[in-house]
């Protein structure tokens, strides 16, 4: 109750400040501050940076949790983090990495890069974009506050009932999980809709679907997956919340409920989720490999086709997570075949990357190193995936370290490698400065070697019978040396990440500005200055083919041909409503976690009142005049 009071007072205080009831001068100063600018921004590039940076922050937290687990497992019968503490660590590590690190960092890159790649000035729904970010942020905050207030969730990132039900898990941990994910999930759905509408409606003249860069294509399919995969999670979390807070009986067998329904709902979401985080990684790798091989992406059309097929099949394979539930040989066989079928389009992609590099003029800058490291790593993860898709074999691998090794090979070797590649590649577009290449190479090698040292032995640990999610093991079963190796490997990943952080800080302090096109790029984002002006394109570019910017460079043109005369540019106005609305969701979430329904009602009321206010607001944005655009361009030239 005490913490609740603090939250309430804080909310009231904030409301007083924001409505100007506190002090007019202060309000004016706040309005012109940088913080206010970032809180209320609807600029897709700034939102992208906030997504990426908060995602990176959560990546560090999740990484710390992983390090704690490896410390516990370094020797047999260790007692550093045992029992419930270890359960909390593994739950929060998984949940944080998937929902609060991988997805937001991907959304960050999509937000910054995708509108630039299709030649758009903004996303379709700038307001919704900001709302999506703040919902994610407050959801993540709520989830992580569980460490401080009352205990973190401890039922695994899958949070299966009956373990997650009140009878077996009476603390508030699972409630934090349910509400935190529900709130950030709302944000993800909004982002999905926003990206889809942007790609469908906002492409510049000439940018047909089959001229879109590969990263935009993968963003498109990922957004479609988000659109259809988030609702099952929403329903699952809602039902779990009802069971825990209001005493309903969806998953409670004593009252006729069925815990298997949760598993279905969770994995109908959960499997597409895997592709949500890996497809944009494929896109990033395609861009990087093509740019640093100085070659057109091999088999572009088949790449697009493979992406769409993976997206579709992603919805038809969820039962492979449930082979051992006992759904019967028929279900298991059908889903096993569907799962193995996904190997085909994925294989197409791998060969296309190899053939893109084949005969190309290879430049091993940091992003390319990540891409080259990614290919064999990801293939290994894919191969163990096919092994796991065989139901009789899966009964052996199930819930062992073999599974842990498999999904870390695809999620770290796929998504995280791609995120680092994307960070080095697009950093100049996000911040106007290049990350240091020498430090980048140190980062890559330390992380890459450390990573394989950590996870490769885990395949064998699994085959030797070590179960996942268990906090210790006994000596004398042949598990000691491999666990020791695995924990030593984690040090390499930690050092790599520290070097990346140093690199980021060093770059932020450096005065050296990046050129507009540092890598001799092929797509539209390299045709605009770094960092990108708020209106993106002074004149929308006219696209003449795939690799639009490359075509113009080959033809000897200085830049893109304009598709419109210079004119006033319409910009959306910033808004404080997304933050308020997300704060309302946060308060509501906290109310449900504390089982304090009045607080939850207050929070929901804040959300609806904000929606009402927004509906009545007549805010048509503002215009940037051509003189201003030309003026700023000239000022830049003088500086240069």
């Amino acid at each position: 109750m005490g913490t609740l009071l603090v939250v309430l007072v804080l909310a009231l205080f904030l409301a007083a400040i924001l409505t100007g009831g506190y002090n007019k001068d202060f309000l004016e100063r706040v309005r012109h501050s940088k913080v206010w600018d970032w809180l209320t921004t609807v600029d897709h590039k700034k939102i992208g940076i906030m997504y990426f940076m908060s995602g990176f922050f959560f990546l560090l937290i999740g990484g710390l949790e992983a390090v704690f687990m490896r410390l516990q497992l370094i020797v047999p019968n260790n007692d550093l983090f045992t029992g419930d503490t270890f359960n909390k660590l593994l739950t929060m590590h998984g949940t944080t990495m998937i929902f609060l690190a991988a997805m937001p960092m991907i959304f960050g890159i999509i937000n910054v890069v995708m509108p630039l790649q299709i030649g758009a000035r903004d996303v379709a729904f700038p307001f919704l974009n900001s709302l999506g970010f703040w919902a994610f942020f407050f959801g993540g905050l709520l989830l992580n506050l569980s460490w401080i207030f009352g205990g973190a969730p401890n039922a695994g990132w899958t949070s299966y009932p009956s373990l997650a039900l009140m009878g077996f898990n009476p603390g508030p941990g699972i409630d934090y999980y349910v509400l935190g994910l529900q709130i950030s999930g709302i944000g993800s759905l909004m982002s999905g809709i926003n990206f889809l509408a942007t790609i469908i409606n906002m492409r510049t003249p000439g940018m047909t679907f089959l001229r879109m860069p590969m990263f935009t294509w993968t963003s498109f399919v990922t957004s479609a997956l988000l659109l259809f995969a988030m609702p099952p999670l929403t329903v699952g979390l809602l039902l779990l919340m009802f069971d825990r807070v209001f005493g309903s009986a969806f998953f409670d067998p004593a009252l006729g409920g069925s815990p298997v329904i949760w598993q279905h709902l969770f994995w109908i979401f959960g499997h597409p989720e895997v592709y949500i985080v890996i497809l944009p990684a494929f896109g990033i790798m395609s861009e990087v490999i093509s740019t640093f091989s100085k070659k057109r992406l091999f088999g572009y059309t088949s790449m697009v086709f493979a992406t769409v097929v993976i997206g579709f099949l992603g919805f038809m394979v969820w039962v492979h997570h449930m082979f051992t539930v006992g759904l019967g040989p028929m279900s298991n066989s059908i889903f096993a075949v569907a799962t193995m079928a996904i190997g085909v389009p994925t294989g197409i992609k791998v060969f296309n990357w190899l053939f893109t590099m084949w005969g190309g003029e290879l430049h091993f800058k940091t992003p390319m190193l990540w891409a080259v490291g990614f290919i064999p790593t990801f293939v290994m993860g894919g191969v163990t995936g096919v092994m796991l898709a065989v139901p009789p074999a899966d009964f052996q691998y199930h819930d062992s370290y073999f599974v842990v090794a498999h999904f870390h090979y695809v999620l770290v070797g796929g998504t995280v490698f791609a995120l680092f590649a994307g960070a080095y590649y697009w950093w100049p577009k996000m911040f106007g400065k290049l990350l240091d290449d020498r430090l980048g190479k140190w980062h890559f090698w330390l992380f890459f070697i450390g990573y394989h040292l950590t996870f490769f032995p885990q395949h064998f640990l699994g085959l030797f019978g070590m179960p996942r999610r268990v906090f210790t093991y006994q000596a004398g079963y042949g598990l000691e040396s491999l666990n020791m190796l695995s924990s030593i490997g984690a040090v390499g990943m930690v050092l790599g990440t520290i070097i990346f952080t140093i690199n980021v800080i060093k770059t932020a302090r450096s005065k050296e500005l990046a050129p507009a096109d540092p890598w001799d790029g092929r797509t539209l984002e390299w045709s605009v200055p770094s960092p990108v002006p708020e209106y993106n394109f002074a004149q929308l570019p006219l696209v003449r083919g795939y690799d639009a910017f490359w075509i113009e460079k080959q033809a000897g043109n200085k830049g893109m041909a304009p598709a419109e005369p210079l004119g006033p540019i319409h910009m959306p106005s910033p808004s404080y409503i997304p933050v308020i609305m997300s704060l309302g969701l946060f308060i509501a979430g906290y109310g449900f976690v504390a089982h304090a329904i009045p607080v939850a009602v207050i929070g929901i009321a804040v959300v609806f009142i904000s929606m009402f206010v927004r509906s009545f607001q007549q805010d048509f944005g503002y215009h940037i005049e051509p003189e201003e655009i030309v003026g700023s361009a000239k000022a830049k030239e003088v500086k240069a």
Partner: protein
């Protein structure tokens, strides 16, 4: 872009709005299908194992009428709405059947 938008605007302005008569006809069909479904369940005119398939067919016809007349999916320029709606329906059916049957 701006010219593009203007041109499309004038194009669309020349389209005539939908006829009210068509909507009222669709409505009558919907009411008839609903009444038929209720009637089938309330009486024993058809064997019990035939009732579910029949009322499901009636429901699907109604939904298509809603989508394509009331919600204007038949109009030009709604290709993407249709694609995403169909994808949604396919995934919805697979998910619901998955939960129900397994």
């Amino acid at each position: 872009m701006s010219e593009n938008t203007n041109q499309k605007t004038t194009n669309e302005m020349s389209h005539k709005p939908d006829g009210t008569a068509k909507h009222i006809f669709a409505f009558i069909v919907m009411i008839a299908l609903t009444a038929a479904a209720f009637y089938l369940v309330a009486t024993d005119v058809v064997p019990e194992n035939m009732i579910l398939p029949l009322i499901l067919v009636f429901a699907v016809i109604q939904v298509f009428l809603q989508l394509f007349t009331f919600m204007h999916l038949n109009q030009k320029g709604s290709a993407f709405y249709t694609i995403f709606m169909i994808a949604g329906i396919v995934i919805a059916v697979v998910s619901a059947l998955g939960i129900l049957l397994m």
